[in-house]
Structure formats: C-alpha cells, structure tokens
Symmetry: C2
Subunit: 193 residues, 2 copies
DNA sequence: GACATATTAGAATAATCATTCTAGTATTGA
DNA sequence: TCAATACTAGAATGATTATTCTAATATGTC
C-alpha cells in the first residue's frame, strides 16, 4: 500500500527544533524546515496540516519530556526535588528550553485546533494536575484550593519565573536560581496550610 | 510652520493599546491602528517609522508608568510594598498589563533600533537599577552581587511570575498572589545576606 | 506486470501586512 | 496673498510565507 516514506514527523520536528534554537521562532518557516531536513515542502505538508500544528507538536514533544521528569521527581523525591527539576532539565536541554516559551497549556482550548491536538493538551494537563493533586494529598493529608494554589506556585510558577529570563536570552540558568527556588519552597511551605 | 496636526502619537498608541487588549498582539496591524483611530495609514507612518517602533513606544509608555509606581513604593515604603506593587498595578491597569509581556528590557540592545529607542531603554533600565541599588544599600548597609540577585528575584521576578499566568489569560490576579509574594519576600530575605 | 496509493517534488498561488509614494490640504510666517 | 511645510489621504507596491496543486515515483498487493 503505497510508497515507503523517506521522511517522518520526527525528522521535521527535529529540524524545527534546530532552527528554533538557531534563529528563533520566526525563523521556523515551513520552507526552512523542509530545507533543514532536505525534504521538499510538500512532504512537510504531507505530515502536518499546517505550521501551527507542526509547532504545537514540537511543543507537546518537549513539554511531555519535561513533564515526565517532573512527575517522577514529584512522586519519588519530595516537592523540592520537583521544584528543582526545572532549572536542571533546562540546563540539560538548552535547545528544548526555548520551546517551553512557545505555548501555554491552555492555548489549545481557545481557538481552532484539530481534535487530536486538543485531546493531547487535555490529557497532558490532566496528568500534571493528577500528579500535583496526589502530591498535595501525600504531603498534607488532605486537599484544598489553598494548598493547590501554593503548590502550583512553588513547584511550577516560581521555578519557571526564575528560569525564564535565561531561556529568553539563551543563557544557562546560574546556580543562584536553584538557591532562590529552594528558599521560596521552604518559605511558602512553612506557612500553615 | 505647516498644517495643524489632527492626530498625534498618543492617539495611535492609545488605539494600539485598545486593539492589543481586544485582539492580542497579532491584531495590532498598522491598518487596524489607523482604522481604530479614524486616521489614514499615512498619518500613522508620519508619526512612527515602523510598526516595531510603534509597539516599542507603547511598551515604553506602559513600563514607565509601572516603573514609576514601583520606584516610589521602593523609596517610600519598604521592599514588600514594592513587591506588592506588581499585582496591584496590574489589577488597576488590566489593559496595560498585557503590554508588559510584549518585550523584555534588553530586547532593544540587540538588533536594529533607532537611537532614541535605544537611549530610552538604557535610561529606563538605569533608573530601575539605581532604585534597586539604593534600596539594597539602605536595607543591608552594603552592596553585593548576592544581595542584588536576591532582591531582583524577590521584588521583580517572583511578583511577575505570580502574575504572569493571569495576564496571559486576561484574568485579574486573585488575592492569593499577594499572599505568595509576601511569603516569598519574607523567606528570601530571612536568609543572611 | 499492472493497479492502487502513500509519498515525493517543487513550482505556482494566495493571503497578509508593512511600507512607500504621489497628490492634495491646512496652517504659519512673511 | 504667497510660499513653505507639516500633515492628511489612501491607493499601490513589495516582501514574506503559508498553503495548494499537479505531476511524478516508489512500493505493496493481486
């Protein structure tokens, strides 16, 4: 049934990642991706309905990898381990780091997106929420809006903030970042929940 | 000398701000700004060399206003007052809040920008640095890289982080944000500097 | 081998915008 | 009133890119 494929999604996503790291988001044109991969542009469109979808899938791939490590840290180590996962992962994945800035989780609920993209976003978010929920229960014995808000700030928002300015200018987050995340962690969790 | 102006910079910047709030950054096309203001596109270009410069000036105007309040808080109140200025200001200026996400301070050092834009960026950054410096000296009696890093995190990065997700989805930051900023503040400043 | 079809090829098309350009127009100053 | 000029007007241009389209080309299946 049909000809054997010479190029697959992975290659195009890989090409897009490379271009993104070198030339920034605007550099990732469909022609650039095709050229980088050595494929004709038709083949890119054969795999991805649109540029938006290609970028979305790149984002999913990266976030999935990031989130996997985060959830493992959250389950095995304690919360601090998970909070520090952000700067560590970013240091180990400099190219991928910039991809994190490309979208927010709920970009895919607004607007027109293919169903599988929407579904992917939903399941990714659910997985994260579930992980954090069960962490909160483990740590505090019960669940509350307040505990969730704080935990999201300490484990997600604060680490991302600490790291963001370095991602934006292609620098490796320095050690002080870990220190600040650590202190924020102890601070916010010292309060009664 | 010459005809009286019917449209000035302020009107175009105001139009751009309105469009940004309603349709997001991509919606701010030069034609949209002209239409919103009721002016012909030629008049927009008579005031701004390019779209980039228009957007830059919008950003400057907003950041300047934000920063003014921040510096006053920093000088008059203590650091906590300044840290909390971010969520407060954003609540009072919902439209302007989104503008903050448009640029980073050092966007204007890289790349081609007119000299006055560069100068504006430099002076704005200098003013902020100066304010923080003198705050650090006032609070700790001396100056150190470490104290500066921490202060920037506590007064700038953490508040921005806490607020960012709400800005991105056009929501008003809830009270918990202030609470988190406050705790982060006490935490990080409890450590010896 | 011939057919069906998944895939390659990439030139042609189309849409979107920023920007330019040429022609008027109102105001100031002489 | 006249000349200089800052400004209005907006149609035309140009550049950039996403996307489409038609024609080949392999490869599995009958």
């Amino acid at each position: 049934m049909g000809r054997k494929a010479r190029y697959d999604k992975e290659q195009f996503i890989g090409g897009a990642l490379k271009i993104l790291a070198e030339r920034g988001p605007a550099g990732v044109t469909m022609n650039a991706v095709a050229e980088e991969t050595g494929a004709p542009i038709g083949s890119v469109y054969h795999r991805f309905v649109s540029r938006d979808v290609l970028m979305a899938e790149l984002w999913f791939q990266v976030v999935e990898s990031f989130q996997r490590g985060f959830l493992i840290a959250l389950e095995q180590g304690d919360g601090l381990e998970a909070a520090l996962h952000t700067p560590r992962w970013v240091r180990e994945h400099p190219k991928e780091g910039r991809v994190l800035l490309l979208h927010r989780r709920d970009d895919f609920s607004r607007g027109e997106w293919p169903d599988d993209i929407k579904a992917h976003a939903v399941s990714l978010a659910a997985e994260l929420r579930k992980g954090i929920r069960s962490f909160v229960r483990k740590k505090f014995g019960r669940m509350s809006k307040r505990a969730m808000d704080r935990t999201v700030f300490v484990l997600v928002d604060a680490p991302h903030a600490a790291v963001r300015r370095y991602l934006e200018s292609d620098e490796v987050p320095p050690d002080i970042v870990d220190e600040l995340i650590r202190e924020t962690y102890y601070a916010v969790y010292k309060e009664d929940l």
